[in-house]
């Protein structure tokens, strides 16, 4: 009987160890690039509004999700399993970023939760007086296997599902270990001292970025990032064969442009892809004046690639495209002027192109081949 008891306790300890050991390996679990995949609150809100509407509006979930996702520059969350503190970092377009830090609970090997009690108030804009105050109870459930964040809210005796977000995660359920999120993209040299520009989202979450230049890999040091502009400045210890200078002229509608990059990474092929198109608008998504809209194809992997004019000078940096299943030829680039400000604030004076005439195709291709690189997470 005594031995039976000991064996049972031993067995229970082994099971408990197996459950908890998975999470104790990991240090910081990172969720990034989170996108809404369910908008239950929007659906409920539409239903509520329809009650007072003469003409009912049909809730289109696909459109609603697209609209909701487009409102954010980024949504990230990280869980430090040593300190049991999470950091929820969100940035809405044209708004200040919000950081929420608090303790979280490990429910089991797969799930994490935290409760956020938030005080809110509604102000009368004319009198600046608070006319309503309240406290909201938000419960978050994080599924480490599916990389999802589910938010519930409590109101009265009801519990409501608010939304579900799906993210990229560095957590591997099989090993219980964290890895760098394997992101990759395009970068290009902006001077002969080895400085490169790319998008922030290409290098974000990377412990060490690398570039591939003429079949040789080089470590790239991250000098600075700007999450709002989605730009990152890198440096490698080499003198490039060529670099891209900035255009002195502002972008113009219908202007011909050329984009270089590695769409779909080097999985497609390790050869640099060069396409051309035109500038269709001098503003980006939701009137973003730091961006231009272009009709040239921008696919995952093109991010951070140079968009140049016929003189071989930088006009913009490829950043994002609209979802290809509903749009065609609506893609965005960060204006060279915005990148110029970013570089100046990091004590780098970008070189401005002096070329007066258009370059021929051979020269343009040579310039792009010698200045544009594939960048990836080690």
């Amino acid at each position: 009987m005594r031995y039976k008891n000991i064996i049972f306790k031993l067995f229970a300890s082994v099971i408990f160890f197996l459950i908890t050991s998975n999470l104790s390996y990991a240090e910081v679990i990172k969720f990034s690039n989170c996108k809404f995949i369910n908008d239950e609150s929007g659906k409920r809100f539409n239903k509520l509004l329809n009650k007072s509407r003469d003409q009912k509006v049909i809730y289109n979930e696909k459109e609603a999700l697209q609209k909701k996702n487009s409102k954010y520059d980024y949504i990230e969350i990280s869980f430090d399993t040593q300190t049991k503190i999470f950091t929820f970092d969100t940035k809405r377009k044209n708004k200040n970023k919000k950081i929420l830090k608090d303790n979280f609970e490990i429910l089991d090997e797969r799930n994490i939760s935290f409760l956020h009690l938030k005080e809110w108030e509604i102000m009368d804009p004319t009198t600046n007086k608070i006319y309503e105050k309240g406290l909201s109870y938000h419960l978050y459930l994080i599924d480490l296997y599916d990389s999802t964040i589910t938010q519930f809210t409590y109101g009265g005796d009801q519990k409501y599902l608010v939304y579900i977000q799906e993210c990229q995660s560095n957590y591997s359920p099989e090993t219980g270990e964290t890895n760098d999120i394997a992101s990759s993209g395009t970068a290009f040299f902006i001077n002969n001292r080895g400085n490169l520009l790319t998008n922030n989202h290409v290098v974000e979450g990377c412990k060490l970025s690398k570039i591939s230049y003429f079949n040789k890999e080089h470590d790239a040091q991250l000098i600075s990032t700007d999450k709002t502009l989605d730009l990152a400045l890198l440096k490698v210890d080499l003198k490039p064969r060529a670099f891209i200078s900035f255009s002195n002229d502002g972008p113009k509608k219908r202007q011909q442009i050329i984009i270089a990059g590695y769409p779909l990474g080097q999985g497609l092929s390790d050869d640099l892809k060069i396409n051309d198109g035109r500038i269709s608008s001098l503003k980006g998504f939701e009137n973003n004046s730091n961006e231009i809209t272009v009709d040239v194809a921008i696919n995952p992997g093109n991010s951070g690639g140079p968009i140049i004019n016929q003189k071989g000078q930088l006009v913009a940096i490829a950043v994002a495209g609209m979802s290809k299943d509903v749009t065609e030829g609506i893609n965005f680039g960060i204006k060279a002027s915005a990148a110029e400000n970013f570089l100046k604030s990091n004590n780098i004076n970008p070189s401005v192109g002096i070329q007066k005439f258009s370059m021929d195709d051979d020269k343009l291709v040579k310039l792009l081949e010698e200045s544009t690189v594939y960048t990836f997470c080690n």
């Binding site: 979280f104 609970e105 490990i106 429910l107 089991d108 797969r110 799930n111 939760s113 935290f114 409760l115 009690l117 005080e119 105050k133 309240g134 406290l135 109870y137 419960l139 459930l141 599924d143 589910t150 409590y154 109101g155 009265g156 005796d157 009801q158 519990k159």
Partner: protein
Amino acid sequence: MKKVILILAMGLFWYNLAYSYDFPKILISCASTNFNTRYLNNKDKVDYSELKPSHFTGIIEIIGDGKIIGRLTGSSETGNLKSPYFGTINDTKIIMTHKKKSLDEKGTIFELNLISGMFEHNSYLDIEGMDDWYLQRTGVCDIKT
């Protein structure tokens, strides 16, 4: 044998597809039997009154290491009860507070003894010097886990 494997495979497939974590729950079915009021101008004076047992229910979800969130549902006998509540659980009791407007307020505290099933439901006022409850319901709960 093939059927068994098929059933197992289907089971695993559906489990994966339908998986969503369910927070452990404690369900309570309670009856208020007393309603007590403290005099605002004399805090030592309390009016105690017995009630015809008034029924209400509650769902208490365990959302982490000893942390809970609870919802009480009133009935025609109790009227509407405030919710949600946030608090803690250990092996003997549940203490949870409903705060309406700010984290600083004293709010309404629901305390349930998990062994006897007796509860106290105390409402507080945010008035200086008034640290005791001013409204109290007491009674007993049937607890299901």
